[in-house]
Amino acid sequence: MKVKVTVNGVAYERDVEPRTLLAFFLREDCGLTGTHVGCDTSSCGCCVVVLDGDRPVKSCTMFAVQADGHEIRTVEGLAEGAALHPLQQAFWDQHGLQCGFCTPGMLLTAYTLLKHNPRPTEAEIREGLAGNLCRCTGYQNIVKSVQQAAGAV
């Protein structure tokens, strides 16, 4: 089936099997390997991308064909030009990552969280990130990173 999507501002048109998951479409058909697959059961959130500007979706739980006609932002499209996005900068500053595998999904979930709630409390951040697992950091520095990006620290 034909799929037409815009990813990070670039139009992609690909012929895919209907069962192709959006995560694999992005990784294998668009070559955007920043989106990771960690669990296959939409538990871990490593595959989170942003749909139509402000909707976080677990791209392992969506077929590529369902994304037809939509706009997607992946971690590769988070920075505006050469400068890091404030969230990226904050994760770096606050040691909000270790192995880096969950980081793209964390960043994009946090991105949509801040879009909807620019000044979240710590509890709201923890709730907002609860769909994303991190095995390395214990979340504490991730929460701090989001607070920094929100201008709250």
Binding site: E17, R19, T20, F24, R27, E28, L32, T33, G34, T35, H36, V37, G38, C39, D40, T41, S43, C44, C46, T74, V75, E76, L78, A79, L84, Q88, F91, W92, D93, H95, L97, Q98, C99, G100, F101, C102, T103, P104, L107, I125, R126, E127, L129, A130, G131, N132, L133, C134, R135, C136, T137, G138, Y139, Q140, N141, I142, V143
Partner: protein
Amino acid sequence: MSSEANTGGCLGKPMKRKEDPRFIQGKGRYVDDITLPGMLHMAIVRSPYPHAEITSIDVSEAMKVPGVKAVITGKDLDAAGLGWLPTFHGLDKQMVLAIGKVLFQYQEVAAVFAETRAAAADGAEAVQVEYAPLPVVADPFTARKDEVLLRPDREQKTNHIYHWEVGDKDGTARALESSPKRISQRIWFQRCHPAPLETCGCVAQFDTMGRLQFYVTSQAPHVYRTALAIVTGIPEDKIHVVSPDIGGGFGNKVPVYPGYVCAIVGALKLGRPVKWIETRTENLTSTGFARDYHMDVEIGAGADGRITAMHVATTADHGAFDAAADPTKYPAGMFGIVTGSYDVPAAHAEVDAYFTNKAPGGIAYRCSFRVTEASYAIERAMDILADELGIDAAELRRRNFVRKDQYPYQSRLGFTYDSGDYDRTLQLALDRIGYTQLLKEQAEKRVRGELMGIGFSTFTEVVGAGPSKHFDILGIKMFDSAEIRIHPTGAGIVRAGTKSQGQGHETTWAQIVAEELGLDPQNIMVEEGDTDTAPYGLGTYASRSTPVAGGAIALAARRVREKARKVAAHLLEVGESDVEWKDYKFQVKGVPAKTVTMKEVAFAAYTNMAQNEPGLEASYYYDPPNMTFPSGAYVAVVDIDRETGEVKVRKFLAVDDCGTIINPLVVEGQIHGGLTEGFAIAFMQEIQYDGEGNNLNTNFTDYLLPTSLETPQWETAKTVTPSPHHPIGAKGVGESPNVGSPAAFVNAVVDALSPLGVRHLDMPITRDKVWRAIRAAEIGTVVA
């Protein structure tokens, strides 16, 4: 000479990580990100039965699936001499693909190679395997009866794998016999799984020169190269192993797994690259389980709480093959650390391991080879003893600590502890947490029937395997290595035999080199994981990177410095013996104004070296003289909802002593992460099998990882007693929090429930387990 500011003094500074820019931009390169031209995908057919004879395998339907190129079975591999794989320590062997029968649910039965990931999965679905179920042995206590022999392939016709013991058996028995107080408790450390967010995987390719290019999620790439050479017969120079970025390891990525061998066979057979990436279910069910130790702990003590003797008898469930990741001469790893932080005058520990119809493993999950099991046993038992004697749990620990003046301390179970200050560490923890106040609050709450608990763990770890006289894997001694090249402009590269999986080596190794050489850590590149370029090392696990490779890096840098000294002498126009290294510069002895920087020397080493050997590089293979012994005092404070059994960790303080700290940012991050895994083990993680051998925790909806919601807030503090034998005094930290914390959590929960008569609960302490304990107490039945 120049008065240019030096850039040393970076050791101990919270330097931001050099590796982060690529990860935050989605530019990390993990194994599944590698795509090679013409690459095929592999999927594995797995057994639905835990124990069954394979009566037939029919691959004809699979071969009809569009895109499927080949299917291989155990018979094919056996015919090629590749049917079996030596296990980690070489003391057993493991079927690559099942031959004749399967021994655990999800065991590898056939491998399918196809043009796409989906076609490979379709092909695997279409392979028809017929099984005749056999009686299942689902626990080691049944296994030891030997009613069903699981491994007739072995010479020894028994399910018993080994008996290991250390210490004074008779002396300990006598001392226990004559102890005024004795406690005993069976303590089970449940089977769990490290579950890094990236599963295991590989890409195998034979290049145009016929050389195996093997990209793999390996924590020990050099060991893989040697193991693959031994298994496949491919000469070792024709194998190139590359560990790209790794999405967490925690011990899961140390052993060589059957899937890797299959991918290599497929690549050879089909002449095309082959990729295999585990699904999460494959990961949880077949590679890398940990623990599963049933420990019968007995401690004797005087009425004053001084321990007189300790005995531990462990029954270990090793699953279908003895694939435990332990040094060859230590089948039970470092379990001898079971006397912990205490001066135990008589001790004896023994472990008996058995085959069962479960996945093989026994890997060192964020743990230095069974240290977690041992630490948990002693720290849990200390609380039971405290309870029995009516002595405060912190005070009982203090009375038994190895004293500061006893180092180097020779434990009765064979270790020589390097350094520590347990009293100071515990005192700091008590002060910081406000122990007196907490006890007061607890007493008040108990009057009201409210459940609040305070739990301690004052553990000692043994890490940094290890000295060559004791430690090897398949005969390869457990040294590690570093190679440093300083370029003409004073930038440089360091390569090591380790492999970071999030520990931040690209930053911390650069800091060590920069500190030793007075250079800018931002311009010291760190490279690991490529067996063609990195010197031979045993890899990153068991908190060995800093204790072993960290030592190699510091000593290689000092060799560079000695070479540089000759050039410096030439530049300073004095004899070499008149040059000293001071304030990160070379200086003419006694003439502080006459200095030359390493950067200047580096340039001269290539441009103006006089009669000295050109260039500026050195390597060092470091054979550590001893293990290192990080320690800590952890305190957990919990509140339990009497109606629902819900446990809330209100406060958790970790005071760690990991010796010299290279980068406090990285150390704190490691502690947060390790505590979170310890929390998960204490409260939610278990790979559970039913009595029929079915794995009940095959994905993240059944095997629970803590989220940001339930993970507690972590408080950290430190004491520093540098390791006296380590070149920079560092001891390693990655595993301490995971080793030390489970006991603190469980002790806190049991302390909260102690007014109800609860003495012990096995992990994971789920809400329903707590609820049942409370209800049982209320109707008058004391649990455990």
